[in-house]
């Protein structure tokens, strides 16, 4: 109970310290900012140790036998090699584990983009032009693609569709910006709710 109270006071104080930046930059804001960065970094260290290195590497190495045990040395060595970046003379060695990471990322990314995005999205655009929504969707996709086609001069019909493409893009930006405004206000609502509910107990 007492820990909850201390936690709420601490959180409220840090929230107000961050909000104080709206008036002007000040030491309280800077202190809260540095605490946030430091705590986040510390949290990451604990999580990587507790949820990754210990259970996935050390515990497994100690509990498994045979090839399963020794194969764990490969990621362990690659992980250690990554730390060579700290020393300028040996920094080049870190390219070896990095190449694995990039290779895996690229391999997974390419298949996922094609299988999980490109093909389903193209499929979802092949619609019967029987409703206004479908017509808008198909015209929107085609005109936007035309806008990004730079191998032909924008003249005549081509120009018309590229202009139409810009309109669709602007509408998408507008929707996206509207959602962003809503999201940012939601964050403010969340903090003010915390101050009024948890800290000041003004609202139940």
């Amino acid at each position: 109970m007492i820990l909850n109270i201390i936690g709420t006071w601490l959180a409220a104080t840090l929230t107000l310290a961050i909000f104080s930046f709206l008036y002007k930059d000040n030491p309280f804001y800077k202190l809260a900012e540095h605490i946030y960065v430091g705590v986040s970094a510390g949290f990451w260290v604990i999580y990587v140790w507790a949820f990754d290195i210990k259970p996935m590497l050390i515990d497994r190495f100690l509990t498994t036998t045979g090839i399963e045990k020794w194969i764990l040395l490969i990621p362990a060595i690659l992980g250690v090699l990554m730390l060579t970046r700290w020393f300028p003379k040996t920094a080049w060695i870190s390219r070896i584990p990095l190449s694995f990471t990039i290779g895996i990322g690229a391999g997974l990314g390419v298949t996922a983009s094609i299988q999980g995005f490109l093909i389903p999205q193209i499929g979802a655009t092949l619609l019967p032009l029987t409703t206004i929504n479908n017509i808008l969707l198909v015209i929107g996709v085609i005109s936007t693609i035309i806008y990004f086609y730079f191998s032909k001069e924008f003249k005549g019909t081509w120009k018309f569709f590229s202009r139409l493409g810009i309109i669709f893009i602007m509408i998408a930006f507008g929707a996206s910006f509207g959602y962003t405004v809503m999201a940012r206000i939601s964050l403010l609502i969340g903090r003010i709710y915390f101050l009024l509910h948890n800290f000041l107990n003004i609202i139940p």
């Binding site: 986040s40 895996i104 999205q121 998408a172 999201a183 206000i185």
Partner: protein, 273 residues
């Protein structure tokens, strides 16, 4: 009159901050409630979970942290309430290390409300780095990545987890997303393993998720605080999202007024120059 527009053009931004603060705080202090219209995509998400049989398994991925808590935490609490009220088992995991305590807090709170027990009704698997490899790996065997839960207890010691091997035993995956992890769930778990997915997202990334809904790659979409409020409305259990919506509406109104005044002022001053 010209003087007024000139003054407005150079208004101290702190006055605007103060007005926004007042407009947010007052509806909450006076506990204003506004009617909430439920959108099709939130109804789809709700129905998907509502149609599950007792004993079904829902996996919830906490892919956000404290910066997105006001939008996504009400969603998590509402979904947990929905699952526990229907005796659906919950597996929690996360790809944002700093968000997992938020998941744990919500589990503890809602499990207590519905008298649910850890290990029998829900588990928290915790965090593992490398989310794309993990998403593909779960399709084969979940134990390769999560031999234990976040407390270090072997997952086979929990009765309902013994039958969970991969996505085939997970009825619905709920991704609560503040970044690109939602795309990865759809592209790996959804496209490769046909996993049924519901996404709950922050308002910022919601527009990017609608194409997945249109292409039927996800079974429902809950976007932002508005989406959370809609879910709470369907659940008939008001939470912080419903309470926050009047403030949201009034601030939007205020912003629209600011934009109109700003534009009128801009054109008047430009004409006079």
């Amino acid at each position: 009159m010209k003087n007024l527009w000139s003054k407005l053009a150079t208004i101290d931004r702190r006055i605007i901050y103060l007005l926004v603060f007042i407009v947010v705080a007052l509806p909450m202090i006076f506990r204003m409630i506004m009617p909430i219209r439920v959108s099709r995509e939130v109804q789809m998400a709700f129905s998907e979970i509502d149609n599950l049989k007792p004993g079904s398994i829902v996996m919830i991925s906490i892919d956000y942290d404290a910066a997105s808590e006001p939008e996504l935490q009400p969603m998590l609490i509402a979904i947990l309430r929905h699952c526990f009220s229907k005796n659906i088992k919950v597996i929690l995991l996360g790809h944002w290390a700093l968000g997992l305590p938020l998941g744990e807090m919500a589990l503890n709170q809602v499990a207590k409300e519905y008298n649910k027990k850890y290990g029998e009704d829900y588990v928290n698997l915790g965090y593992r780095p490398g989310y794309t490899a993990l998403m593909v790996g779960i399709g084969k065997e979940i134990r390769d990545f999560f031999p234990t839960d976040y407390r270090g207890i072997p997952i086979d010691s929990f009765p309902f987890m013994r039958k969970v091997r991969n996505y085939q035993q997970i009825d619905v995956l709920v991704g609560l997303e503040a970044g690109a992890t939602g795309d990865a769930w759809v592209q790996f778990a959804g496209a490769r393993f046909n996993q049924k997915i519901i996404l709950g997202t922050t308002g910022v990334i919601a527009p990017d998720m609608f194409p997945y809904l249109q292409a039927k790659q996800i079974a429902g979409l809950i976007s932002g605080l508005q989406g959370a409020a809609e879910y709470e409305t369907l659940l008939k259990k008001a939470g912080s999202a419903i309470l926050g919506m009047p403030a949201q509406s009034f601030v939007h109104l205020l912003i629209i007024i600011f934009i109109i005044i700003g534009n009128i002022g801009y054109f008047i001053l430009r004409k006079r120059r």
